[in-house]
């Protein structure tokens, strides 16, 4: 019996030793990496090239980012390599755990709080030369705990997309483009036929939130310090959407066999949809024959409202060459670079100084950029993504649900995050 016990002990000992060895390998330089990030001074080990990790929407975006980075690399003499992530969150997480993350990467508003709170990110926002040029609402989307973490890469807003042929067929003219909720309900009704529905949207907060914004509400206040999910304004917004759904003039895209609003619109299953400027790429590639126009969303009881979505260029706290990374980001968010990106794969520049030129070169899409003045961002407290996905789950049955009860549970979940 003795012998058996000692064997077990040896086995267990070996396992633990192995675990410690493995973890030591994983941590690389170990604990030393932190000092630079907290010390205030940027690291600038120029012998190290930069790794850039992006979540690309397609070949156009990959080629465009590659070209921009290559141009910077040549000019600055620092090596830089762009990789396209197949699962950005997972690859970022692996990098941070191994303390060998990509130096510069795409970062969504959802992921900001998690990485910022565990110290993975460099809060470099205030050191940007072009800091004041970014739209303030975008800056607040990437401000966590009072610190401006990363430079907004670009942004999108939601607006109303109208199929011009179906519009004309229904006997409607430019003068009928809806500017109020009542008018939207009326034209949706006119456009609804047995074959198609007037308006189709994705059944989620990221679309229905526009109605809440038009009614003057949002899930959280501007700097995400207070939950305002069950405000009367939000309830009014959802109840309006509920009425449209129950009147049969608006449908969720999933109900009519489409993956998202753009697909329903492109397949002409609906005459209108509410989507962001990414829809232009889908229309050009998949549905080139469908003619459409973009109008601003109608005003709700509290005026204009829409939602905005954005990503930023994150820089890792563990990057050995933060100074070069910062230079690269300044270059990538400059006016010229952003206008080129916009031309090549369609996002809107995140800086105000590029607005006029963008409007001139994209006259049909002006409505999207106008949205920047009144758009609201999504909450960015840690865990908000979970709350939003729970809200989305409930919104799927909004038609038969109770708007107040849905928002009450969201309020409760958001308050739990702030404790």
């Amino acid at each position: 019996m003795q012998r058996r016990n000692s064997r077990w002990l040896i086995g267990a000992g070996l396992t633990v030793a192995g675990a410690l060895t493995l973890s030591a390998c994983g941590s690389g330089s170990g604990f030393g990496g932190d000092t630079a990030a907290t010390g205030g001074e940027l690291t600038s080990d120029s012998s190290q090239g930069l790794n850039i990790l992006i979540g690309s929407s397609g070949d156009a975006e990959t080629a465009s980012v590659n070209a921009a980075v290559a141009a910077w690399s040549e000019e600055s003499g620092t090596d830089a390599k762009v990789s396209v992530a197949s699962d950005l969150n997972q690859q970022l997480a692996q990098g941070f755990a191994a303390q060998k993350p990509a130096d510069v990467f795409y970062l969504s508003t959802d992921a900001l709080a998690g990485y910022a709170s565990n110290g993975s990110l460099l809060a470099y926002g205030d050191e940007l030369a072009n800091k004041d040029d970014f739209y303030p609402s975008l800056v607040s989307s990437f401000t966590y705990d009072g610190e401006f973490y990363c430079a907004p890469k670009d942004f999108s807003t939601l607006q109303l997309i109208i199929n011009t042929d179906l519009w004309a067929q229904a006997g409607l003219t430019d003068a009928d483009i809806p500017t109020t909720w009542d008018e939207l309900a009326a034209v949706s009704k006119t456009l609804t036929t047995p074959e198609r529905v007037g308006l189709a949207i994705g059944g989620e907060y990221a679309r229905l939130g526009a109605f809440m914004a038009e009614a003057g509400g949002s899930l959280m206040n501007e700097d995400s310090t207070e939950a305002t999910a069950n405000s009367a304004e939000n309830v009014a917004g959802l109840e309006y959407a509920q009425t449209l759904l129950n009147d049969g003039v608006m449908s969720y895209a999933s109900e009519i066999g489409a993956g998202w609003g753009g697909e329903a619109f492109g397949k002409q299953l609906s005459a209108m949809t509410i989507e962001g400027n990414w829809i232009t790429g889908a229309m050009k590639n998949d549905f080139p024959d469908v003619k459409y126009t973009v109008a601003e969303l109608p005003e709700g009881p509290e005026g204009k409202g829409t939602m905005q979505f954005t990503n930023c260029w994150g820089i890792a706290a563990d990057s050995p060459n933060q100074a070069a990374a910062l230079e690269l980001v300044e270059q990538l968010t400059s006016k010229d670079a952003q206008l080129t990106f916009s031309e090549e794969f369609g996002p809107m520049p995140s800086i105000q100084s590029a607005a006029e030129e963008w409007k001139i070169s994209n006259p049909t899409l002006v409505a999207f950029l106008n949205g920047a003045d009144y758009a609201k961002g999504v909450p960015n407290v840690q865990g908000a993504a979970d709350v939003v996905s729970d809200l989305n789950a409930q919104l799927e049955s909004l038609k038969t649900g109770d708007a107040t009860a849905i928002l009450d549970s969201t309020q409760q979940n958001l308050e739990a995050l702030l404790k």
């Binding site: 675990a19 493995l22 999933s254 789950a393």
Partner: protein, 364 residues
């Protein structure tokens, strides 16, 4: 213990055997240790720590938090508990339906293709096995097309006059829907007011959602081929004389199957049920490529929730805790089933028909 005997045996001609034994098994032990045992132990530590995903989980800044991660899941009262409860509910229904159906179907198919008189047995065996060798991702994509709102299944149902559901977009529970047909829209207060793991008993009893049902069909479709193969192998191992003896005793085909063939398949049945149970509790690929937990979180499973909690929400401890709770669930289920299928002495009650008692007037 007889220590002297042992040493004497070792010092003899077989002395080097233990060393060579270790030497031969060492590569596998090292591989399994490196890639299985140690990572599992590291994950176990993470589930008890406040590691936040940056740097090594063994660095000095990570501290032991006891059962905090576990208690947030099973008694935290927040969204984490509710999500975990929902995931368990979904997966429990999935297991409850997938495991029995796939076992019965695979046994049925095995018996069919094992018959000597069947023409083209080879073809049928290949056809039934085919879904098993296809990648689960490919099958999921196929399923998404078949069950889409304008897909083949819906059209087929429409052809026979049934207005089919919008499969992957329908979050309503099947049992709730059936009750709804009989006019029961809301449950009794006893069920709706009390809850377990953050969701009410009425919600626990919702049944699999329509979307989950599509996944259940898919699991049955893909795995019954594999298990059919196991059953065929077992059936071919059975000796014909036992069946012949049963024939001579006048047992008909039905009795021969239930009383003679099936009891002999017990070890295979155990394997199939265990593998099925483990596979069904660990369902991940289909969810990851298919629905990501939607619609209405009704296809969320603990395995997917664990991934999402760790990688998307950066709650690594909680993600690892979910994985270990899932591990415990699987072990408990397997032990229970092992107990259920264990060989026991035939009870007196079941013995009685076979016993010849003098008062009954002898055998027929």
């Amino acid at each position: 213990m007889s220590t002297p005997a042992r040493t004497s045996r070792r010092s003899g001609i077989r002395g080097g055997e233990a060393a060579s034994g270790w030497l031969f098994t060492a590569p596998m032990i090292i591989l399994l240790g490196m890639f299985l045992v140690i990572p599992v132990l590291m994950a176990l530590w993470v589930s008890f720590s406040d590691w936040n995903g940056r740097g090594s989980p063994f660095s000095g800044s990570v501290s032991f938090v006891g059962l905090d991660n576990y208690s947030a899941l099973v008694g935290g009262g927040g969204l984490a508990e509710q999500d975990f409860g929902t995931a368990l509910r979904n997966n429990a229904w999935y297991v409850l339906l997938v495991v029995p159906i796939q076992t019965m179907l695979s046994l049925f198919l095995a018996v069919l293709v094992n018959r000597q008189i069947l023409r083209g047995r080879g073809f049928f065996r290949t056809a039934f096995y085919f879904p098993s060798v296809t990648s689960s991702v490919a099958i999921t994509v196929l399923w998404l097309f078949l069950f889409s709102a304008t897909g083949a299944v819906k059209k087929l149902l429409a052809f026979v006059g049934v207005n089919g559901p919008n499969w992957f977009n329908d979050p309503s529970g099947v049992l709730h829907n059936i009750l709804g047909v009989f006019g029961v829209q809301t449950g009794p207060a006893a069920l709706t007011d009390n809850s377990f793991l953050g969701i009410s008993f009425w919600e626990w009893l919702a049944g699999p959602s329509v979307a989950m049902s599509a996944f259940i069909l898919m699991a049955v479709f893909t795995t019954s081929g594999t298990f059919m193969l196991l059953f065929i192998a077992a059936l071919q191992n059975l000796s014909g004389d036992v069946v012949e003896a049963a024939m001579m005793d006048g047992a008909n085909g039905w009795q021969r199957f239930w009383r003679v063939t099936l009891p002999q398949l017990r070890p295979t049945l155990f394997t199939v049920l265990t593998l099925g149970l483990i596979g069904a509790w660990q369902v991940f690929d289909q969810i990851y490529t298919g629905t990501q937990g939607g619609p209405g979180k009704t296809t969320l499973t603990p395995a997917y929730l664990s991934y999402q909690t760790a990688f998307t929400n950066q709650a690594w401890g909680q993600g690892a805790a979910i994985a270990f709770i899932l591990f415990v669930i699987i072990v408990v289920f397997t032990l229970f089933q092992r107990w259920l299928l264990a060989e026991r002495k035939v009870s007196v009650r079941r013995m009685r028909p076979y016993l010849q008692t003098p008062t009954s007037g002898g055998s027929r």
